[in-house]
Symmetry: C2
């Protein structure tokens, strides 16, 4: 399967689409596409379009949409995971890519007491989302939501669906392990991975008071990025085990 181009919805007009400037340069100079070539174009909102190019120049590449599939590579429902921005910009870009590969639709950027990284600028987040969507053959851009702990409850309530945030943290003996919670609650689970220094006791208490479980992934010390990729993978596996798109 070929890596698609990306063109936002406003690049489409009826059955025609014009590629953005950067994609135009890539199509004409790097890939050396020609009139008549058939390419894939995703629009970031679920459309995977098969397009026959009828004009290819270094400043203009356009074509006709021959066929459209919807939600290629997309899960059947929202998949929400939270992560406190990592201190290293490279590791943050890596984490975003992993989340998109593993089918996450919404990434909560957690503002916690010990968060070390800054939330990347919107342009940077958008670029990461576009690149990851194309690389992983998806058709929807992952959405980013900066939230603080109280704000998260409101955000999740506003979705109109029932979600259960779960803090990934050193658990108490009575806490169910994270895989067990997933098995019980399925895709409604929203795993929250704290910063490198972990959640504070006050943040854990606030979560428990709100009815949010605390769960761990075993006895070893995990880097935040490892816990993050692990919970994304476990959430994916839980969805694969159910019926429907993963």
């Amino acid at each position: 399967m070929t890596t698609p181009f990306y063109a936002p919805p406003d690049a489409f007009d009826g059955d025609r689409v014009r590629l953005p400037d950067d994609e135009t340069r890539h199509a004409s100079r790097v890939l050396r596409h020609a009139v008549g070539d058939v390419v894939a174009v995703v629009d970031g909102v679920g459309g995977w379009h098969t397009v026959r190019l009828d004009r290819v120049a270094k400043d203009r590449a356009e074509g006709v949409v021959v066929e459209t599939r919807y939600d290629a590579g997309e899960p059947a429902s929202r998949v929400i995971v939270g992560l406190a921005p990592l201190k290293s910009a490279d590791r943050m870009a890596f984490a975003v890519e992993k989340a998109v590969e593993l089918g996450v639709t919404d990434l909560l950027l957690l503002d916690t007491a010990r968060t070390e990284g800054r939330i990347p600028k919107p342009e940077r987040l958008h670029a990461l989302a576009v690149a990851a969507m194309k690389q992983t053959l998806r058709s929807r851009l992952v959405r980013f939501h900066p939230v603080r702990q109280l704000g998260m409850a409101q955000f999740l309530a506003d979705t109109g669906e029932t979600f259960l945030p779960v803090l990934l943290h050193e658990a108490a003996p009575d806490d169910a392990p994270f895989p067990t919670l997933l098995a019980q609650r399925g895709r409604s689970v929203v795993p929250l991975v704290g910063p490198e220094g972990g959640f504070t006791p006050e943040e854990v208490d606030a979560a428990r008071a709100a009815g949010w479980p605390v769960a761990s992934l075993g006895p070893r010390r995990l880097r935040a990025e490892t816990a993050f990729v692990a919970v994304c993978a476990l959430h994916l596996a839980a969805r694969i085990s159910d019926a429907g798109a993963a």
Copy 2:
């Protein structure tokens, strides 16, 4: 919990241990330990030793073992995962660290038709294993096993236990998804993650002929390193769900 030092078994004599040179420098100059300090020392073969230092100099650090716990952070049985060495040495180091974080005991380094990376030198692998063991608060060094496909069957048979290799690959409609296989076969599963270019049709046919399932992780294109971390995390979750150490 504090990051332990590493001293191999031959550094121990009765109830005394002498730290290796690099650990000695770290203890004396960086951490500025003093006589009377209590530190943790792992021996790479399961021992987590609490040690009271009774000599600390830039060329000699030693102490008395006060207490020893066994298999701290270790899973209850062998956890074997295979990976074709990645082209980038950094990404390979990253993958080793993730495997150790997620409780892998044995890492098969797969020599496949499309393997791009070289197997790191033994000294490099040892250094990676030591660093990861300390970072993750484990007490056993992960073991590396370069294998080719036929050699793998012999390696697994030699363990005396029953393992089922599973190729991570684009699956046929009748193939069970990887999480389903894990649920059915548990910790006997040995996930095999191919190189960036994937397994060849001949390698897949040979696996099927040997009775090894082929399974995927969903409809998106995954980088080899992502599939690798994902299967390590899923294997861990399957062990957490069972009784016993994860």
